[in-house]
Structure formats: structure tokens, C-alpha cells
Symmetry: C2
Subunit: 188 residues, 2 copies
DNA sequence: CTCCTAATAGTTCGGAACGAACGGTGCGAG
DNA sequence: CTCGCACCGTTCGTTCCGAACTATTAGGAG
């Protein structure tokens, strides 16, 4: 019983745990590295503290070794499983934010061409990496592959955008649409 | 002189301040509402604490009213202006993360069709809103419009993805590519 | 078997982010 | 004047984050 606030971090812990129960936070970290961390990084220290927090709230059960590393091994409780199922069944969720540093610089007037070239390289690399992972993902849970497909689509979008920006197409379109819909008179 | 850590929040404060100097944190909040908050929300309390922090570090100057609301009015110092310019001139930056709750649910096996329908509606609304804003943005700084263009491209991508997922196209493609590149034998 | 080293596993800590809630201030309507 | 509401600013408790640190285990050389 508990009135802890469940955050996205909580569901990541529970979701990963569901996939590889029983597990130590360290195990979760290994799994996360292969999967979620690509679009939602959780620092490993949080996996430890969050697991402990959830156990305290009764959503996980914790057993601890008495010797050696004194590892804490976690399992989902029925309550935890129910909370996870409830979250997953609710199709609404707050929209995410991009929070991309380069976009911020662009917003604040950075040189678009220089920025675009640097970003193009990084996004192309990431895109290639995602595509490799997807190819290797074979028989992994379908959810993983669907999510990765979305990640790939986004990376493609990034590449297309920065490319268009580098080529001056973005500015051209902005100029054209500003001319087409003048909010202040453009010719005076 | 200062060894404060400058975070993205710091640059948001300085960047906004550059655009409407001098300003109180409340003024910044108003401007943010029209601009950055669409892709990088900063809670208003942070604008107050971050402004104070930056002033302490010598990047902003602070003058305070002695009566009434005792508002703190900020300006960029030369040092602050230089820090902002330096940040803006550096074309590299860590890649952002999506951190979208719906993607997380998808990852963890939520029903894709139900999820897609809910998400489609939200993203379509947001897309329409962005397009309205862009049309109204007329003579605003070019950086704002470029960044918004990227935001629109991403929203279009979201709409396209959730639509394809709802239609079963995503799963069909995944099945096709899994058959084309079997990592474990698929027919045995 | 013992010592050294590298990889593995877990924790601590301080600063930054977050958002709910609260407390003053100013102003216009009654 | 005084009530109410929008405006403006702050406090607080929790969560997030990552650098740095400690401790355990495995493997190899002597």
C-alpha cells in the first residue's frame, strides 16, 4: 500500500524488470543499455534508488544476499504488475519534448550552416547505428522493434531537416511563405 | 568570475534576456510562453532561481525595486553576453532525447492501435497549432521560425508514424524485413 | 598460493530540475 | 472602502542527474 508518485522512471524499472525478472539493478542497467537507453537514458544510479523506492512502496519485492556483494534482487509484486498493466493500458500520455541542444542554438540565432554540418554528421551516425540494431533485433519483443522504428523515422527527419537547412531550402521556404501570408506589410 | 556550471536552462535565460533586455523573470516567462516553451519547457520557478544564480555568477546584473513588488530586473553583463556567444558559436552539442511517454508504452508492449489513435489526435492538434503559430510569426527572429520548422517536421513525422502503426503498415514492414534478414532461422 | 590488475557491482553526495502550493501586490467593480 | 481576481514572486519537498568513490570478483603472472 502506498501513495508514492510513479514516474516514467518507475515504469522503466518495472517494465524492464518484467522482461528479465528476477534481476538486480545492475542487470537492469545491462538490459537498458541494449534497449531503452537509446531514447530514454536513465543513469545507473537511478536504477538503484528507484528500485529501492519501489520496493519500499510494495511494488517490488527485494531479497538481499548476506555475503559478498550483498546484491539486492528484485521481483515485481502483484501490485507492481497491476500498476504496470494499468499504465500500459492507458493510451493517453503527455507529449514528450524534444529538448535538443542544437535546436536551442538554432532558435537563439546560431549560424545555421555550421550547425547543420555538425548535426548532420552526428545524426547520420546515430541513424546508421539504429538501423544496425534493428537488423540485429530479430526476435526481440515487437514493442522494442516498433519503438526503434519510430526512433529511426525521427533520425531520418533530423537528417532531412539539417540537410535542407544547410542547402538553404528551409530559409527559402520560410521566405516564400512569409511573402504569401504577410502578417505585416512586406512591400512597403 | 565564476565556475558555475552553465546548463541549457542558463542559456535559455540568457538567450531570452538578450531578446528583451532588461527584463524580470516574469517577463521572461511571458516570452518563453510564446516561443521556447513549445519544445523546451522551463517551469517559471526556474526562471527566478536561474536568473538569481546567473546574477550571482556575474553573468547577469540585477537591480531590485525597493518598494511594491520588489521586482528584480536583469540585464546581461559583458561576461554573460560573451558566454552566450561562445555557446552559440559551438556547433556541436549532445543529441537530444525524445522522452516521449507514448513511445515508452509502445516499447513496453502497449496495444499499438489504441495507443496510435490517442496519439494521432494529440499530435494532429499540436501540428495544427504549430502551423498557426508559424503563420503568425511573420517578422519574428529567423531562428524562431527555423526552430519551429523543425518542430513541425517532427510533428508531421509523429503523425505519419502513428498513422502507419494504426494501419498495420509498421508491423508489416517489420515482418518483411525480419523475413529478409533472418538473424535466427525463421522457418524451422 | 599470492599478488596485481581489470572488470564488475554498488553507493554517496551535491547540485540542478521540477511543480505544487503558498503569499504578497495592484487594480477595478460594486 | 473592500472585495475579488489577476498578476507577480518565493518556498519547499521530491526527483533527477552524473561525477566520484568504494568494494568485490575474476583472471593471469610469478
Amino acid at each position: 500500500m502506498s501513495t508514492v508518485r510513479l514516474t516514467e522512471t518507475s515504469y522503466i524499472v518495472m517494465g524492464l524488470l518484467e522482461a528479465c525478472e528476477p534481476a538486480t539493478p545492475y542487470d537492469l542497467k545491462q538490459v537498458a543499455k541494449l534497449s531503452t537507453m537509446h531514447f530514454w537514458h536513465v543513469p545507473h544510479t537511478q536504477l538503484y534508488t528507484e528500485s529501492a523506492r519501489l520496493a519500499e512502496a510494495g511494488l517490488l519485492s527485494e531479497t538481499r544476499e548476506h555475503e559478498g556483494r550483498r546484491r539486492r534482487v528484485y521481483r515485481l509484486t502483484d501490485e507492481g504488475r497491476a500498476a504496470l498493466a494499468r499504465w500500459r493500458a492507458d493510451p493517453t500520455s503527455k507529449l514528450g519534448e524534444l529538448r535538443d541542444g542544437a535546436t536551442l542554438k538554432l532558435f537563439f540565432g546560431a549560424d545555421p550552416v555550421r550547425l547543420a554540418h555538425a548535426q548532420l554528421q552526428m545524426h547520420r551516425e546515430l541513424l546508421a547505428e539504429y538501423e544496425t540494431i534493428l537488423a540485429e533485433l530479430g526476435e526481440s519483443p515487437i514493442g522494442w522493434r516498433r519503438a526503434l522504428t519510430l526512433g529511426i523515422a525521427h533520425e531520418r527527419q533530423f537528417v532531412a531537416f539539417w540537410q535542407a537547412l544547410a542547402d538553404g531550402q528551409v530559409d527559402a521556404e520560410l521566405a516564400a511563405s512569409a511573402a504569401a501570408h504577410p502578417t505585416v506589410d512586406a512591400t512597403a
